[in-house]
């Protein structure tokens, strides 16, 4: 059981360290926003699930060993405690109890805190939706409410029923086509229950503010969800209507200070102006899908790997496949003096008496597990880098995309006979020279 716990913890540590940068690099382009969201959610989800599983295993372990005091030593900490003090009786039991109690308390506390936060956000949103419906003017559409305000804004809020709020200033800034596209964007948020995803992630980020996987994931997912909604709206109406709506709403009241929102909005605009090509999308999807598959499989592999290893070392170990129980059963047996003797001697005696590897075996299994996982993670990082290089556009992404778009326009005009051969060639050459020089510069 310990080996499973070790495997799960290794997985979550590896994810916390390696995943944020990797996933950001993979999802930054927004080539496949839906899968991007799925990737972040499965990264965060599997890490949280591995914590829950770890806590559950510790609690179960403590409870079963509590009822069978002879095998109490199966706990790692109890083992250490045991070696240090050379005292086998009540101390390991108390240590075990404390660990189990701490695990339970942490799990319950975190769970309650998360649930309270999510429910709190839900009721705040519902209250806002209700209040907006009371003060707002009803429009021709049942889900849309107009509220008097000098700031142009459009947003949706979850509720029963949910509401899409458009301020009077926004209504004035948008024409009918733009308005329809904006509403389609907001409806996509509501239909996809994006508020549930965002509030759950926000609650998690508030509970674990130091884990960049979660804090970064919260921001990235929010950004990708905007792109998902953009895609729906652009499909239903047009990229132009949506993009010009974006421009109309931001131009009407520019913010006083620069913020992180600026870049996110620009990235959305670039996507709408120059949608990624199909081949790029397919490669992005393949990259993300394989990362999701790896993340889903990794904890399972971690667990089975550990179980497998403990069976390799198994014969001398406890019958439950635990590297400690055999050894500690021995140590808690009458030969109490063992605890005081030199560790090397302990080991050799253990090997003589019980024919197993004891500490050396434990170190070896843990060591090989760590090495194994280091190799797996390296392989994943290399694979992801490779896939990333496939799915990314050329350096200076936005600029290059713009140039490609310009080339398309040029080709279209040439095809329609608006420009002759010479002009087409001349303009194309100029465009390409520009791209080359700016790529070198960047």
């Amino acid at each position: 059981m310990i080996s499973v716990v070790v495997g799960l913890l290794l997985y979550s540590v590896a994810m916390l360290v390696a995943a944020p940068r990797l996933l950001r690099a993979l999802t930054d382009s927004g080539n496949a926003p839906r899968l991007g969201v799925a990737t972040w959610l499965s990264a965060i989800g599997t890490v949280v699930a591995s914590w829950v599983a770890t806590a559950a295993l510790v609690i179960i372990g403590a409870v079963t060993h509590w009822t069978h005091p002879r095998t109490v030593a199966a706990s790692c900490l109890a083992r250490l405690q045991h070696t240090i003090s050379g005292d086998a009786g009540i101390v390991p039991q108390i240590a075990l109890l404390l660990i189990a109690a701490a695990a339970t308390a942490a799990a319950v506390y975190t769970g309650v805190r998360l649930a309270t936060a999510v429910l709190g956000m839900r009721s705040r949103a519902h209250e806002h939706a209700r209040a907006v419906r009371l003060v707002g003017h009803h429009t021709g559409e049942a889900d849309v409410v107009m509220v008097e305000a000098t700031k142009p804004a459009a947003y949706c809020v979850a509720g029963r029923p949910p509401a899409i709020v458009v301020t009077s200033a926004a209504r004035a800034a948008l024409d009918d086509r733009q308005m329809a596209a904006v509403l389609a964007h907001e409806r996509a948020h509501l239909a996809g229950h994006h508020a549930v995803i965002v509030s759950t992630l926000r609650a998690l980020a508030a509970a674990f503010p130091r884990l960049s996987l979660i804090t970064e994931g919260t921001q990235q997912v929010a950004r990708l969800l905007e792109m998902c909604a953009d895609d729906v709206a652009a499909r239903r109406h047009s990229s132009r209507a949506l993009l010009s709506g974006l421009v109309a709403l931001t131009a009407a009241a520019p913010a006083e200070a620069l913020s992180a929102a600026d870049l996110a909005v620009l990235a959305r605009a670039e996507r709408l102006a120059a949608p990624p090509q199909v081949s790029v999308k397919v490669k992005s999807r393949a990259a993300l899908a394989s990362v999701i598959a790896i993340m889903a499989a990794a904890p399972l592999i971690a667990v089975s790997d550990c179980i497998w290893r403990s069976h390799i070392w198994g014969p001398g170990m406890g019958s439950d496949g635990n590297p400690f129980s055999g050894e500690l059963l021995m140590a808690s047996s009458p030969s109490k003096a063992l605890g005081h003797s030199h560790s090397g001697k302990v080991m050799s005696m253990m090997m003589m008496n019980h024919g197993h590897w004891g500490w050396a075996g434990w170190l070896l299994t843990t060591g090989t597990t760590i090495v194994f996982w280091a190799l797996v993670i390296t392989a994943v990082v290399l694979l992801a880098r490779y896939l990333l290089s496939l799915s990314q556009r050329t350096p200076g992404t936005a600029h290059a995309a713009g140039t490609m778009n310009a080339e398309h326009t040029l080709a279209d005009r040439y095809a329609r006979g608006e420009i002759d051969d010479d002009e087409y060639q001349r303009r194309l050459r100029l465009l390409r020279e520009n791209t080359a020089s700016s790529s070198q510069a960047s």
């Binding site: 956000m121 705040r124 949103a125 806002h128 209700r130 209040a131 907006v132 419906r133 009371l134 003060v135 707002g136 009803h138 049942a142 008097e148 305000a149 700031k151 804004a153 459009a154 947003y155 979850a158 029923p161 709020v165 301020t167 904006v182 964007h185 907001e186 508020a195 965002v198 509030s199 926000r202 508030a206 905007e226 909604a229 652009a234 047009s238 990229s239 132009r240 993009l243 010009s244 709506g245 974006l246 709403l249 931001t250 131009a251 520019p254 913010a255 200070a257 913020s259 929102a261 600026d262 870049l263 996110a264 909005v265 620009l266 605009a269 670039e270 102006a273 949608p275 310009a406 279209d412």
Partner: protein, 127 residues
């Protein structure tokens, strides 16, 4: 207008009360009921419980008048709107209030770049 659910009846009642002279006399349930009953089928008790509810939630203040109550809005529609829009747009309690904004406000320079992106878009695109 057809009434869908309780929330919408609340909206209708508030609408009636806000459209009255704010400095005039407070309104009884009977008066609101009479107005509404002229347009739709509705029970007196429904109107009464709706207004009672609005009082509990702080939207209506009431004073006793004989056996019945008379109600008036605690805040004007404009005051409520201003409060809600502050909540939604100024990012005060934004961590707890989850809203999906269509677009955040951005700087003037970014706004110009955004317009440049729009100009690049072919006029006849339908993607």
């Amino acid at each position: 207008m057809r009434i869908r659910g309780f929330g919408e009846l609340e909206a209708v009642v508030m609408d009636r009360l806000w459209s009255r002279d704010p400095h005039g006399e407070a309104t009884s349930v009977r008066e609101v009921f009479d107005e509404l009953a002229a347009e739709r089928v509705i029970a007196y008790t429904t109107v009464m419980s709706t207004m009672d509810n609005l009082h509990t939630k702080g939207w209506l203040a009431r004073e006793r008048d004989g056996k019945a109550y008379r109600y008036r809005p605690t805040l004007s529609r404009e005051q409520h709107s201003a409060r809600l829009m502050r909540e939604a747009l100024d990012g005060g309690g934004s961590a707890e209030l989850v809203l999906q904004h269509f677009v955040e406000q951005i700087g003037a320079e970014e706004s110009a770049r955004l317009r440049a992106v729009l100009r690049r878009l072919p006029k006849d695109t339908n993607r």
